[in-house]
Amino acid sequence: MGQTLSVRKLEAWYGPNKTLKGINMEIEANHVTAIIGPSGCGKSTFVRCINRMHETLPGTKVIGEIILDGESIYDQDPVALRKTVGMVFQKPNPFPSMSIFENVVAGVRLNGQRNKQNLQAIAERSLRMAALWDEVKDRLNYSGISLSGGQQQRLCIARALAVEPAVLLMDEPASALDPIATTHIEELIRQLRDNYTILIVTHNMQQAARIADSTAFFLNGELVEHGATSEIFTNPKDKRTEDYITGRFG
């Protein structure tokens, strides 16, 4: 099941640049939350803070608080946190030296699961959830990079789901894909909503409108507006949100 996230006064730096300037945001469980905004508004940094990936880069700094299911993520071991908060990246990044099967179970293996039958069951379940099973079930021992771009991205989603996270972060997961592959990914996100807290960064506003229950608009490192997707797109409260969604900038 998904878990709620509560972000308080989150500030983040990338070198001398302050990319997040005090974000307060509540993120509901079993809900798809889209984060929109122009390039450089801090939306990627924001999701990368939630699994503490931002800190892994040199010269970065974070202050503020993120509460996951009642507990501060900064009180947790980042390695353990990332098993609860999974992530899918902009470009598909399967491990090229591993087969499809090995890619899916890579995270589970790190957790110490060695039993062959369990691994097979996990791989099938995860690939089914990622709507990829039927396409790859006969060639699980082929390389992960033998798949098309859209299939690779679904493989990466299966790999993230195999670890059974509660939260799934997606950083523009369809931006490198063609329209048909994008449709697959969007359908998949809708199906996953019931069991996960999904946070998706997108620069595609139609995509946010199609899949998100709520939408947050970021601008220059600040959260301008956050509300139900229909509200944001039909009746934005802030002038800047309106300008952005009507295409006046960004």
Binding site: V79, R82, F95, S97, S99, G107
Partner: protein, 314 residues
């Protein structure tokens, strides 16, 4: 209707193609020519001793008996020893510099490691004579004999100058090669591979194991191969510490000899034609071993790089 379309290439490009082809071809010619010359000069020795040259352990210029086995053994053993020591350490250095060290630290240590490769081998040899060999004789070899003396490799009188000293000095000399190349290759692993592993809840070591090393393994093996090539042919430093005794003894402490060392030592003393010819044949065998080992290593790299179906890494 199929008609082959040809783009007209400019005269300049055609000329460039010809010139670069000749340059590439000249390397092949040079190698074949060298091989032939050595074979030709070694002919008297090949005729006299036949296959026995490779299998005989007697090297006695006074009785005109020549067998190269002790040198082949010495070269292969010292190189193997050097690889066993330098490959894991070089890899460790590369992992530290690339994945662990802070960036200011990284540049300094990286530079120092690469400096090691620039030290002339005769300097390594001198250091081996005055520092390494006495240290081995007085501390390391008695210690090894005491704790691991049940293994034949670590039995016998501690001499200092011998197989162990040769292997160690070679290990030091090929370490920077292996470290520098491994580091270069690891630096080329895309960061998104590291992030993929970290996002799954990998620790740093798990990330290296899952994302960095598999991606870089072909290049790392290439670096080890280059190190092996250097170890096989290294002459000066090994000659100075290996003990120069044409014998095959089980102990690593005992003096030994290598192919490159015997050529360097005895070439000026080769007073008659068969002696000279035998030395050239040793060189010919070294040439052949280097080629064959490099070829085998290349095969190994290919088979490892192939990975799962449909995804070739090279």
């Amino acid at each position: 209707m199929s008609k082959k379309r040809r783009f007209k290439t400019s005269l300049g490009d055609q000329f460039l193609r010809l010139v670069t082809f000749l340059m590439a071809f000249s390397v092949l010619v040079l190698m074949a020519w060298m091989g032939w010359q050595m074979f030709d000069a070694a002919r008297p020795s090949i005729h006299t001793f036949g296959f026995g040259f490779i299998t005989s352990r007697v090297w006695d210029p006074v009785k005109e008996q020549f067998g190269a086995l002790p040198f082949i053994y010495g070269t292969l053993m010292t190189s193997l020893l050097a690889l066993l020591l330098a490959a894991p350490i070089g890899l460790g250095v590369a992992i530290f510099l690339n994945e662990m060290a802070e960036s200011k630290f990284r540049a300094v240590i990286g530079f120092l490691v690469e400096m090691l490769a620039a030290i002339p081998s005769v300097v390594y040899g001198l250091w081996g004579i005055f520092v390494l060999a006495p240290w081995l004789r007085e501390t390391v070899e008695p210690g090894l004999a005491k704790w691991l003396g049940f293994v034949p490799l670590f039995q016998g009188t501690p001499v200092g100058f011998g197989m162990l000293a040769g292997g160690l000095i070679l290990a030091m000399m090929i370490l920077p090669t292996i470290a520098a190349i491994s580091r270069e290759v690891m630096a080329s692993v895309p960061n998104m591979q590291r992030e993929a592993a970290l996002a799954l809840g990998a620790t740093k070591w798990e990330m290296i194991k899952v994302a960095v090393l598999p991606y870089a393994k072909t290049g790392i093996m290439g670096g080890i191969m280059l190190g092996l090539g250097r170890a096989l042919g290294e002459t000066m430093a090994v000659t100075m510490v290996i003990g120069n005794r044409p014998d095959i003894l089980p102990s690593l402490f005992a003096p030994a000899y290598s192919m490159a060392a015997v050529i360097a030592n005895e070439f000026t003393e080769a007073t008659y034609d068969l002696y000279l010819s035998a030395l050239v044949e040793v060189g010919f065998i070294l040439f052949g071993i280097t080629l064959v080992l490099n070829f085998l290593a290349r095969l190994l790299v290919w088979s490892v790089a192939r990975g799962p179906k449909g995804g070739n890494l090279v």
